[in-house]
Protein backbone atom coordinates (compact mmCIF):
# COMPACT_ATOMS: atom_id res chain seq x y z
CA UNK A 1 0.00 0.00 0.00
CA UNK A 2 1.23 3.51 -0.87
CA UNK A 3 2.09 5.74 2.05
CA UNK A 4 -0.51 8.29 0.96
CA UNK A 5 -3.21 5.62 1.20
CA UNK A 6 -1.86 4.01 4.33
CA UNK A 7 -2.88 6.65 6.86
CA UNK A 8 -6.49 7.03 5.64
CA UNK A 9 -6.74 3.24 5.58
CA UNK A 10 -5.38 2.91 9.12
CA UNK A 11 -7.61 5.72 10.25
CA UNK A 12 -10.61 3.73 9.08
CA UNK A 13 -9.52 0.54 10.80
CA UNK A 14 -7.74 1.80 13.91
CA UNK A 15 -9.41 5.05 14.95
CA UNK A 16 -12.52 3.33 16.30
CA UNK A 17 -10.41 0.75 18.12
CA UNK A 18 -8.37 3.41 19.89
CA UNK A 19 -11.46 5.38 20.92
CA UNK A 20 -13.18 2.22 22.15
CA UNK A 21 -10.23 1.05 24.23
CA UNK A 22 -9.73 4.48 25.79
CA UNK A 23 -13.43 4.85 26.59
CA UNK A 24 -13.43 1.40 28.08
CA UNK A 25 -10.55 2.43 30.33
CA UNK A 26 -12.07 5.63 31.59
CA UNK A 27 -15.65 6.57 30.91
CA UNK A 28 -18.10 7.35 28.17
CA UNK A 29 -18.67 10.77 29.68
CA UNK A 30 -15.17 11.63 28.52
CA UNK A 31 -15.58 10.34 25.01
CA UNK A 32 -14.43 13.68 23.56
CA UNK A 33 -11.07 13.28 25.32
CA UNK A 34 -10.72 9.81 23.85
CA UNK A 35 -11.52 11.13 20.38
CA UNK A 36 -9.06 14.00 20.73
CA UNK A 37 -6.31 11.63 21.77
CA UNK A 38 -7.08 9.31 18.85
CA UNK A 39 -7.04 12.23 16.39
CA UNK A 40 -3.79 13.59 17.81
CA UNK A 41 -2.26 10.16 17.48
CA UNK A 42 -2.98 10.15 13.76
CA UNK A 43 -1.73 13.71 13.41
CA UNK A 44 1.54 12.67 15.00
CA UNK A 45 1.73 9.62 12.75
CA UNK A 46 1.45 11.72 9.61
CA UNK A 47 4.18 14.07 10.89
CA UNK A 48 6.66 11.46 12.08
CA UNK A 49 6.10 8.89 9.33
CA UNK A 50 6.58 11.59 6.73
CA UNK A 51 10.09 12.23 8.09
CA UNK A 52 11.25 8.89 9.46
CA UNK A 53 9.25 6.57 7.26
CA UNK A 54 6.51 4.14 8.17
CA UNK A 55 7.32 1.90 11.14
CA UNK A 56 7.36 -1.85 10.77
CA UNK A 57 4.12 -2.38 12.62
CA UNK A 58 2.06 0.80 12.06
CA UNK A 59 -0.91 -0.31 14.17
CA UNK A 60 1.29 -1.13 17.17
CA UNK A 61 3.00 2.25 16.76
CA UNK A 62 -0.40 3.95 16.90
CA UNK A 63 -1.41 2.03 20.03
CA UNK A 64 1.79 2.91 21.87
CA UNK A 65 1.48 6.57 20.90
CA UNK A 66 -2.17 6.67 22.01
CA UNK A 67 -1.20 4.99 25.24
CA UNK A 68 1.55 7.54 25.96
CA UNK A 69 -0.63 10.47 24.96
CA UNK A 70 -3.34 9.29 27.35
CA UNK A 71 -0.91 8.97 30.21
CA UNK A 72 0.50 12.45 29.48
CA UNK A 73 -2.96 13.86 29.21
CA UNK A 74 -4.04 12.60 32.59
CA UNK A 75 -0.79 13.62 34.25
CA UNK A 76 -1.38 17.19 33.16
CA UNK A 77 -5.06 17.51 33.70
CA UNK A 78 -6.72 17.72 37.02
CA UNK A 79 -9.79 16.15 35.54
CA UNK A 80 -8.12 12.82 36.04
CA UNK A 81 -7.26 13.49 39.64
CA UNK A 82 -10.68 14.81 40.45
CA UNK A 83 -13.03 12.72 38.47
CA UNK A 84 -11.73 9.66 36.79
CA UNK A 85 -9.43 8.42 39.46
CA UNK A 86 -12.31 8.34 41.88
CA UNK A 87 -14.43 6.42 39.42
CA UNK A 88 -11.61 4.01 38.84
CA UNK A 89 -10.95 3.56 42.50
CA UNK A 90 -14.55 2.87 43.23
CA UNK A 91 -14.73 0.38 40.40
CA UNK A 92 -11.57 -1.48 41.16
CA UNK A 93 -8.39 -0.95 43.04
CA UNK A 94 -6.23 0.05 40.12
CA UNK A 95 -4.74 3.43 40.82
CA UNK A 96 -2.60 3.44 37.71
CA UNK A 97 -4.64 3.57 34.56
CA UNK A 98 -3.67 0.88 32.11
CA UNK A 99 -4.45 1.35 28.45
CA UNK A 100 -3.97 -2.11 27.20
CA UNK A 101 -4.11 -2.65 23.46
CA UNK A 102 -4.18 -6.42 23.44
CA UNK A 103 -6.32 -8.07 20.79
CA UNK A 104 -8.69 -9.27 23.45
CA UNK A 105 -9.12 -5.86 25.00
CA UNK A 106 -9.62 -4.22 21.60
CA UNK A 107 -12.38 -6.64 20.69
CA UNK A 108 -14.06 -6.38 24.10
CA UNK A 109 -13.88 -2.60 24.02
CA UNK A 110 -15.34 -2.41 20.55
CA UNK A 111 -18.14 -4.75 21.56
CA UNK A 112 -18.92 -2.58 24.57
CA UNK A 113 -18.85 0.50 22.34
CA UNK A 114 -21.24 -1.09 19.83
CA UNK A 115 -23.68 -1.76 22.65
CA UNK A 116 -23.31 1.78 23.97
CA UNK A 117 -23.95 3.38 20.60
CA UNK A 118 -26.96 1.19 19.85
CA UNK A 119 -29.04 2.80 22.54
CA UNK A 120 -32.76 2.25 21.89
CA UNK A 121 -33.46 5.78 23.19
CA UNK A 122 -31.49 7.25 20.28
CA UNK A 123 -33.24 7.27 16.88
CA UNK A 124 -32.09 4.65 14.38
CA UNK A 125 -30.76 7.28 12.00
CA UNK A 126 -28.70 8.90 14.74
CA UNK A 127 -27.43 5.52 15.92
CA UNK A 128 -26.08 4.85 12.44
CA UNK A 129 -24.37 8.26 12.36
CA UNK A 130 -22.84 7.62 15.78
CA UNK A 131 -21.66 4.17 14.76
CA UNK A 132 -20.05 5.59 11.63
CA UNK A 133 -18.33 8.37 13.53
CA UNK A 134 -17.20 6.60 16.68
CA UNK A 135 -16.81 2.99 15.58
CA UNK A 136 -15.78 3.44 11.97
CA UNK A 137 -13.88 6.74 11.99
CA UNK A 138 -16.05 8.46 9.36
CA UNK A 139 -15.87 12.24 9.18
CA UNK A 140 -19.03 14.34 9.29
CA UNK A 141 -18.58 15.07 5.56
CA UNK A 142 -18.32 11.39 4.72
CA UNK A 143 -21.46 10.61 6.69
CA UNK A 144 -23.27 13.49 4.99
CA UNK A 145 -22.17 12.16 1.58
CA UNK A 146 -23.44 8.70 2.38
CA UNK A 147 -26.86 10.03 3.41
CA UNK A 148 -26.94 12.74 0.71
CA UNK A 149 -27.58 15.20 3.51
CA UNK A 150 -26.00 18.51 4.50
CA UNK A 151 -23.12 18.34 6.97
CA UNK A 152 -25.03 20.70 9.25
CA UNK A 153 -27.91 18.23 9.54
CA UNK A 154 -25.53 15.42 10.41
CA UNK A 155 -23.75 17.60 12.96
CA UNK A 156 -27.02 18.38 14.70
CA UNK A 157 -28.09 14.76 14.63
CA UNK A 158 -24.75 13.69 16.09
CA UNK A 159 -24.81 16.41 18.72
CA UNK A 160 -28.15 15.29 20.12
CA UNK A 161 -27.14 11.64 20.02
CA UNK A 162 -23.82 12.28 21.74
CA UNK A 163 -25.48 14.24 24.52
CA UNK A 164 -27.76 11.29 25.11
CA UNK A 165 -24.86 8.89 25.01
CA UNK A 166 -23.04 10.86 27.71
CA UNK A 167 -26.05 11.53 29.91
CA UNK A 168 -27.29 8.01 29.62
CA UNK A 169 -23.84 6.92 30.81
CA UNK A 170 -24.38 3.34 29.83
CA UNK A 171 -22.13 1.13 31.94
CA UNK A 172 -19.72 0.19 29.27
CA UNK A 173 -17.60 -1.96 31.56
CA UNK A 174 -20.05 -4.27 33.15
CA UNK A 175 -21.69 -5.54 30.04
CA UNK A 176 -23.50 -8.54 31.43
CA UNK A 177 -25.65 -11.23 29.94
CA UNK A 178 -28.94 -9.54 30.67
CA UNK A 179 -27.96 -6.16 29.30
CA UNK A 180 -26.63 -7.81 26.20
CA UNK A 181 -29.88 -9.66 25.75
CA UNK A 182 -31.99 -6.57 26.15
CA UNK A 183 -29.96 -4.55 23.66
CA UNK A 184 -29.09 -7.21 21.15
CA UNK A 185 -32.15 -6.60 18.98
CA UNK A 186 -31.40 -2.93 18.62
CA UNK A 187 -27.71 -3.65 17.93
CA UNK A 188 -28.63 -6.04 15.13
CA UNK A 189 -31.17 -3.58 13.71
CA UNK A 190 -28.57 -0.80 13.60
CA UNK A 191 -25.99 -3.03 11.90
CA UNK A 192 -28.65 -4.21 9.45
CA UNK A 193 -29.60 -0.61 8.62
CA UNK A 194 -25.95 0.41 8.38
CA UNK A 195 -25.38 -2.37 5.86
CA UNK A 196 -28.49 -1.48 3.88
CA UNK A 197 -27.45 2.15 3.85
CA UNK A 198 -24.42 0.98 1.90
CA UNK A 199 -26.09 -1.71 -0.17
CA UNK A 200 -29.11 0.34 -1.27
CA UNK A 201 -27.36 3.66 -0.84
CA UNK A 202 -28.77 6.93 -2.08
CA UNK A 203 -25.29 7.88 -3.19
CA UNK A 204 -23.66 6.76 -6.41
CA UNK A 205 -20.25 6.86 -4.80
CA UNK A 206 -19.14 3.26 -5.01
CA UNK A 207 -16.30 3.69 -2.48
CA UNK A 208 -18.60 4.98 0.25
CA UNK A 209 -21.07 2.17 -0.41
CA UNK A 210 -18.39 -0.49 -0.11
CA UNK A 211 -17.02 1.12 3.04
CA UNK A 212 -20.42 1.13 4.71
CA UNK A 213 -21.02 -2.51 3.82
CA UNK A 214 -17.61 -3.68 4.95
CA UNK A 215 -17.85 -1.74 8.23
CA UNK A 216 -21.22 -3.33 8.99
CA UNK A 217 -19.69 -6.72 8.20
CA UNK A 218 -16.72 -6.04 10.47
CA UNK A 219 -18.93 -5.01 13.39
CA UNK A 220 -21.26 -8.00 12.95
CA UNK A 221 -18.19 -10.21 12.85
CA UNK A 222 -17.09 -8.84 16.26
CA UNK A 223 -20.45 -9.96 17.64
CA UNK A 224 -19.90 -13.53 16.47
CA UNK A 225 -16.49 -13.60 18.17
CA UNK A 226 -17.93 -13.22 21.66
CA UNK A 227 -19.90 -16.14 23.15
CA UNK A 228 -22.39 -13.72 24.73
CA UNK A 229 -23.35 -12.14 21.44
CA UNK A 230 -22.77 -15.07 19.09
CA UNK A 231 -26.47 -15.81 18.74
CA UNK A 232 -28.34 -17.55 15.97
CA UNK A 233 -29.70 -14.17 14.84
CA UNK A 234 -26.22 -12.63 14.72
CA UNK A 235 -25.04 -15.48 12.52
CA UNK A 236 -28.05 -15.09 10.26
CA UNK A 237 -27.40 -11.36 9.89
CA UNK A 238 -23.73 -11.93 9.14
CA UNK A 239 -24.65 -14.60 6.57
CA UNK A 240 -27.01 -12.12 4.91
CA UNK A 241 -24.28 -9.48 4.77
CA UNK A 242 -21.79 -11.95 3.27
CA UNK A 243 -24.19 -13.08 0.54
CA UNK A 244 -25.19 -9.53 -0.37
CA UNK A 245 -21.60 -8.27 -0.33
CA UNK A 246 -20.56 -11.09 -2.63
CA UNK A 247 -22.52 -9.38 -5.40
CA UNK A 248 -21.40 -5.80 -4.74
CA UNK A 249 -18.88 -5.78 -7.61
CA UNK A 250 -21.35 -7.20 -10.09
CA UNK A 251 -24.19 -4.83 -9.27
CA UNK A 252 -22.79 -1.66 -10.78
CA UNK A 253 -20.99 -1.19 -14.10
CA UNK A 254 -18.15 1.22 -14.90
CA UNK A 255 -20.59 4.05 -15.57
CA UNK A 256 -22.22 3.62 -12.17
CA UNK A 257 -25.39 2.10 -13.69
CA UNK A 258 -27.17 -0.58 -11.72
CA UNK A 259 -27.10 -3.98 -13.37
CA UNK A 260 -30.23 -6.05 -12.99
CA UNK A 261 -29.81 -9.37 -11.27
CA UNK A 262 -30.50 -11.45 -14.41
CA UNK A 263 -27.82 -9.58 -16.35
CA UNK A 264 -25.06 -9.67 -13.74
CA UNK A 265 -21.75 -11.26 -14.61
CA UNK A 266 -21.76 -14.13 -12.14
CA UNK A 267 -18.00 -14.57 -12.45
CA UNK A 268 -17.67 -11.24 -10.59
CA UNK A 269 -19.43 -12.67 -7.56
CA UNK A 270 -17.04 -13.13 -4.67
CA UNK A 271 -16.86 -16.87 -3.99
CA UNK A 272 -15.02 -16.48 -0.72
CA UNK A 273 -17.83 -14.35 0.68
CA UNK A 274 -20.45 -16.81 -0.56
CA UNK A 275 -18.67 -19.63 1.27
CA UNK A 276 -18.49 -17.53 4.43
CA UNK A 277 -22.19 -16.82 4.03
CA UNK A 278 -22.90 -20.56 3.81
CA UNK A 279 -20.83 -21.13 6.94
CA UNK A 280 -22.69 -18.53 9.03
CA UNK A 281 -26.06 -19.59 7.66
CA UNK A 282 -25.45 -23.16 8.85
CA UNK A 283 -24.46 -21.77 12.27
CA UNK A 284 -27.63 -19.68 12.29
CA UNK A 285 -29.88 -22.69 11.79
CA UNK A 286 -28.16 -24.68 14.52
CA UNK A 287 -29.38 -22.22 17.14
CA UNK A 288 -33.08 -22.82 16.62
CA UNK A 289 -35.68 -20.10 16.21
CA UNK A 290 -36.18 -18.25 12.94
CA UNK A 291 -35.84 -14.49 12.66
CA UNK A 292 -36.28 -12.16 9.72
CA UNK A 293 -32.50 -12.29 9.28
CA UNK A 294 -32.71 -16.07 8.78
CA UNK A 295 -35.35 -15.62 6.10
CA UNK A 296 -33.52 -12.79 4.33
CA UNK A 297 -30.21 -14.66 4.48
CA UNK A 298 -31.83 -17.77 3.05
CA UNK A 299 -33.39 -15.75 0.23
CA UNK A 300 -29.95 -14.27 -0.48
CA UNK A 301 -28.54 -17.80 -0.41
CA UNK A 302 -30.94 -18.90 -3.14
CA UNK A 303 -29.96 -15.87 -5.20
CA UNK A 304 -26.28 -16.81 -5.03
CA UNK A 305 -26.91 -20.47 -5.74
CA UNK A 306 -26.65 -21.86 -9.27
CA UNK A 307 -30.08 -22.18 -10.80
CA UNK A 308 -32.28 -24.72 -9.14
CA UNK A 309 -35.49 -25.37 -11.05
CA UNK A 310 -37.56 -24.70 -7.93
CA UNK A 311 -35.53 -21.67 -6.89
CA UNK A 312 -38.36 -19.16 -7.15
CA UNK A 313 -40.77 -21.42 -5.28
CA UNK A 314 -38.32 -21.56 -2.39
CA UNK A 315 -37.89 -17.81 -2.54
CA UNK A 316 -41.64 -17.17 -2.63
CA UNK A 317 -42.16 -19.42 0.39
CA UNK A 318 -39.52 -17.46 2.30
CA UNK A 319 -41.01 -14.11 1.32
CA UNK A 320 -44.43 -15.36 2.43
CA UNK A 321 -42.97 -16.08 5.86
CA UNK A 322 -41.06 -12.81 5.94
CA UNK A 323 -44.10 -10.67 5.18
CA UNK A 324 -45.98 -12.43 7.97
CA UNK A 325 -43.23 -11.52 10.45
CA UNK A 326 -42.90 -7.90 9.37
CA UNK A 327 -44.64 -5.83 6.72
CA UNK A 328 -42.57 -3.49 4.64
CA UNK A 329 -43.23 -2.11 1.14
CA UNK A 330 -39.90 -3.56 -0.07
CA UNK A 331 -40.80 -7.04 1.15
CA UNK A 332 -44.29 -6.74 -0.34
CA UNK A 333 -42.83 -5.80 -3.74
CA UNK A 334 -40.14 -8.48 -3.68
CA UNK A 335 -42.69 -11.09 -2.66
CA UNK A 336 -44.89 -10.12 -5.57
CA UNK A 337 -41.95 -10.36 -7.96
CA UNK A 338 -41.25 -13.91 -6.71
CA UNK A 339 -44.97 -14.70 -6.96
CA UNK A 340 -44.98 -13.66 -10.62
CA UNK A 341 -41.85 -15.76 -11.27
CA UNK A 342 -43.71 -18.83 -9.98
CA UNK A 343 -47.25 -18.23 -11.29
CA UNK A 344 -46.62 -16.05 -14.32
CA UNK A 345 -46.85 -12.33 -14.99
CA UNK A 346 -50.61 -12.18 -15.62
CA UNK A 347 -51.51 -13.48 -12.16
CA UNK A 348 -48.59 -11.49 -10.81
CA UNK A 349 -50.14 -8.26 -12.13
CA UNK A 350 -53.36 -8.94 -10.21
CA UNK A 351 -51.39 -9.57 -7.05
CA UNK A 352 -49.27 -6.44 -7.62
CA UNK A 353 -52.21 -4.13 -8.27
CA UNK A 354 -53.60 -4.93 -4.83
CA UNK A 355 -50.53 -3.50 -3.10
CA UNK A 356 -51.66 0.14 -3.11
CA UNK A 357 -48.19 1.65 -3.11
CA UNK A 358 -49.04 4.59 -5.38
CA UNK A 359 -46.28 6.82 -4.01
CA UNK A 360 -43.55 4.20 -4.45
CA UNK A 361 -41.44 4.28 -7.62
CA UNK A 362 -40.55 0.59 -7.26
CA UNK A 363 -44.24 -0.28 -7.32
CA UNK A 364 -44.53 1.23 -10.79
CA UNK A 365 -41.31 -0.28 -12.05
CA UNK A 366 -42.55 -3.70 -10.89
CA UNK A 367 -45.80 -3.15 -12.80
CA UNK A 368 -43.80 -1.94 -15.79
CA UNK A 369 -41.75 -5.13 -15.67
CA UNK A 370 -44.81 -7.38 -15.32
CA UNK A 371 -46.74 -5.66 -18.14
CA UNK A 372 -43.77 -5.88 -20.55
CA UNK A 373 -44.65 -8.27 -23.41
CA UNK A 374 -48.26 -8.45 -22.16
CA UNK A 375 -49.23 -4.84 -22.79
CA UNK A 376 -46.21 -2.75 -23.77
CA UNK A 377 -48.13 0.54 -23.76
CA UNK A 378 -49.21 0.01 -20.20
CA UNK A 379 -45.69 -1.10 -19.29
CA UNK A 380 -44.27 2.17 -20.68
CA UNK A 381 -46.86 4.25 -18.81
CA UNK A 382 -45.98 2.50 -15.54
CA UNK A 383 -42.26 2.94 -16.16
CA UNK A 384 -42.81 6.65 -16.81
CA UNK A 385 -44.70 6.94 -13.55
CA UNK A 386 -41.77 5.22 -11.81
CA UNK A 387 -39.33 7.77 -13.23
CA UNK A 388 -41.56 10.64 -12.09
CA UNK A 389 -41.48 9.30 -8.52
CA UNK A 390 -37.87 8.13 -8.42
CA UNK A 391 -35.22 10.00 -6.49
CA UNK A 392 -32.35 7.79 -7.60
CA UNK A 393 -30.40 8.69 -10.72
CA UNK A 394 -29.31 5.08 -11.16
CA UNK A 395 -32.88 3.85 -11.05
CA UNK A 396 -34.00 6.46 -13.58
CA UNK A 397 -31.21 5.50 -16.00
CA UNK A 398 -32.08 1.82 -15.75
CA UNK A 399 -35.78 2.43 -16.35
CA UNK A 400 -35.14 4.81 -19.24
CA UNK A 401 -33.23 2.00 -20.98
CA UNK A 402 -36.17 -0.34 -20.50
CA UNK A 403 -38.58 2.22 -21.97
CA UNK A 404 -36.27 2.68 -24.97
CA UNK A 405 -36.21 -1.08 -25.51
CA UNK A 406 -40.02 -1.26 -25.44
CA UNK A 407 -40.40 1.72 -27.79
CA UNK A 408 -37.92 0.23 -30.29
CA UNK A 409 -39.75 -3.07 -30.12
CA UNK A 410 -43.03 -1.31 -30.95
CA UNK A 411 -41.43 0.50 -33.88
CA UNK A 412 -40.13 -2.75 -35.32
CA UNK A 413 -43.58 -4.33 -35.31
Amino acid sequence: MQETELIPHLFRTEYGKIVAVLCNSFNLRHIEIAEDIASETFLKASEIWGIKGVPENPAAWLYTTAQNKSKDYFKHHSVFENKIKEVLKSNDERAEIDFEFSNENITDSQLAMIFSVCNPDISNEAQICLALQILCGFSVEEIANAFLTKSETIKKRLHRARTMLRDNNFQIKNLNKEEIKSRQDSVLTTLYLLFNEGYFSKTNNQTIRKDLCSEALRLAYILTENPLTNSSQTNALLALMCFQSSRLEARINEDGDAILFDQQDKSLWNKELIEKGNHYLINAYEGGGISKYHLEATIAYWHTTPTDENKWEHILRLYNQLILIEYSPVTALNRTFAFAKVYGNEIGIKEAEKLNLESNSHYYSLLGYLYSDIDDNKAIRHYEQAIALSKSKTEMQTITKEIQRLVEKKDNC
Binding site: L316, R317, Y319, N320, Q321, I323, L324, Y327, T331, A332, R335, T336, F339, E351, K354, L355, N356
Partner: protein, 113 residues
Protein backbone atom coordinates in the same frame (compact mmCIF):
# COMPACT_ATOMS: atom_id res chain seq x y z
CA UNK B 1 -59.01 1.10 9.93
CA UNK B 2 -61.32 -1.40 11.59
CA UNK B 3 -60.57 -5.02 12.27
CA UNK B 4 -62.56 -7.90 10.91
CA UNK B 5 -62.60 -11.57 11.85
CA UNK B 6 -62.56 -14.01 8.97
CA UNK B 7 -64.03 -17.35 9.98
CA UNK B 8 -63.27 -20.27 7.69
CA UNK B 9 -65.89 -23.00 7.64
CA UNK B 10 -66.14 -26.29 5.78
CA UNK B 11 -67.60 -29.74 6.09
CA UNK B 12 -64.78 -31.99 7.27
CA UNK B 13 -66.59 -35.13 6.13
CA UNK B 14 -67.04 -33.89 2.60
CA UNK B 15 -63.35 -33.15 2.22
CA UNK B 16 -61.42 -35.72 0.19
CA UNK B 17 -58.49 -37.57 1.76
CA UNK B 18 -55.42 -35.70 0.61
CA UNK B 19 -52.05 -37.20 -0.29
CA UNK B 20 -48.96 -35.63 1.29
CA UNK B 21 -48.26 -33.81 -1.99
CA UNK B 22 -51.80 -32.44 -2.09
CA UNK B 23 -51.53 -31.36 1.52
CA UNK B 24 -48.32 -29.54 0.77
CA UNK B 25 -49.94 -27.82 -2.19
CA UNK B 26 -52.88 -26.82 0.04
CA UNK B 27 -50.51 -25.34 2.62
CA UNK B 28 -48.78 -23.41 -0.15
CA UNK B 29 -52.13 -22.02 -1.39
CA UNK B 30 -53.07 -20.88 2.12
CA UNK B 31 -49.64 -19.32 2.66
CA UNK B 32 -49.87 -17.48 -0.68
CA UNK B 33 -53.34 -16.23 0.15
CA UNK B 34 -52.63 -15.02 3.67
CA UNK B 35 -49.24 -13.52 2.66
CA UNK B 36 -51.08 -11.72 -0.17
CA UNK B 37 -53.18 -9.96 2.48
CA UNK B 38 -50.09 -9.25 4.58
CA UNK B 39 -48.40 -7.78 1.47
CA UNK B 40 -51.18 -5.20 1.34
CA UNK B 41 -50.38 -4.32 4.96
CA UNK B 42 -53.86 -5.49 5.94
CA UNK B 43 -53.24 -8.55 8.06
CA UNK B 44 -53.79 -7.86 11.76
CA UNK B 45 -53.39 -11.41 13.01
CA UNK B 46 -52.62 -14.47 11.00
CA UNK B 47 -54.88 -16.45 13.35
CA UNK B 48 -54.84 -20.22 13.57
CA UNK B 49 -56.25 -23.45 12.33
CA UNK B 50 -58.45 -25.56 14.59
CA UNK B 51 -58.36 -29.32 15.11
CA UNK B 52 -61.51 -31.04 14.00
CA UNK B 53 -62.68 -32.36 17.36
CA UNK B 54 -64.44 -30.24 19.94
CA UNK B 55 -67.19 -30.03 22.51
CA UNK B 56 -70.30 -27.91 22.71
CA UNK B 57 -71.71 -26.92 26.10
CA UNK B 58 -75.37 -25.95 26.57
CA UNK B 59 -74.81 -25.57 30.30
CA UNK B 60 -72.59 -27.21 32.89
CA UNK B 61 -74.06 -30.65 32.37
CA UNK B 62 -75.19 -30.81 28.78
CA UNK B 63 -72.05 -31.37 26.79
CA UNK B 64 -71.97 -32.82 23.33
CA UNK B 65 -69.05 -33.78 21.18
CA UNK B 66 -68.56 -32.04 17.88
CA UNK B 67 -68.84 -32.11 14.91
CA UNK B 68 -72.35 -30.97 15.51
CA UNK B 69 -75.62 -32.51 14.51
CA UNK B 70 -77.30 -29.18 13.78
CA UNK B 71 -74.79 -27.88 11.30
CA UNK B 72 -72.76 -29.78 8.76
CA UNK B 73 -69.93 -27.32 8.65
CA UNK B 74 -67.48 -26.57 11.39
CA UNK B 75 -64.90 -23.89 11.91
CA UNK B 76 -61.51 -24.76 10.43
CA UNK B 77 -59.71 -21.61 11.42
CA UNK B 78 -59.71 -17.83 11.58
CA UNK B 79 -57.66 -14.74 10.72
CA UNK B 80 -58.02 -11.05 11.54
CA UNK B 81 -57.72 -8.43 8.81
CA UNK B 82 -57.71 -4.64 8.73
CA UNK B 83 -60.08 -2.80 6.42
CA UNK B 84 -61.96 0.46 6.14
CA UNK B 85 -65.34 -1.19 5.62
CA UNK B 86 -67.14 -4.52 5.66
CA UNK B 87 -67.15 -4.45 1.86
CA UNK B 88 -63.39 -4.02 1.71
CA UNK B 89 -62.90 -6.78 4.29
CA UNK B 90 -65.10 -9.11 2.23
CA UNK B 91 -63.00 -8.30 -0.83
CA UNK B 92 -59.85 -9.35 1.04
CA UNK B 93 -61.43 -12.79 1.46
CA UNK B 94 -61.52 -13.23 -2.35
CA UNK B 95 -59.48 -16.16 -3.52
CA UNK B 96 -59.56 -17.91 -0.13
CA UNK B 97 -58.51 -21.54 -0.59
CA UNK B 98 -61.47 -22.70 1.52
CA UNK B 99 -63.73 -22.21 -1.52
CA UNK B 100 -61.90 -25.00 -3.32
CA UNK B 101 -63.18 -27.54 -0.75
CA UNK B 102 -66.74 -26.21 -0.81
CA UNK B 103 -66.27 -24.13 2.34
CA UNK B 104 -67.10 -20.51 3.08
CA UNK B 105 -65.73 -17.44 4.84
CA UNK B 106 -67.77 -15.44 7.30
CA UNK B 107 -66.62 -11.82 7.65
CA UNK B 108 -67.50 -10.06 10.90
CA UNK B 109 -66.47 -6.67 12.18
CA UNK B 110 -64.82 -6.80 15.58
CA UNK B 111 -66.55 -4.59 18.11
CA UNK B 112 -63.81 -3.84 20.67
CA UNK B 113 -64.81 -3.87 24.32
Amino acid sequence: MKEFLLIFRADYKAMPQASPEEMQATTQRWMNWVAGIAAQGKLADRGNRLVNTGKVLKDDTIVSDGPYAEIKESILGYSVVKAASLEEAAKLAHGCPIFAVGGNVEVREINPL
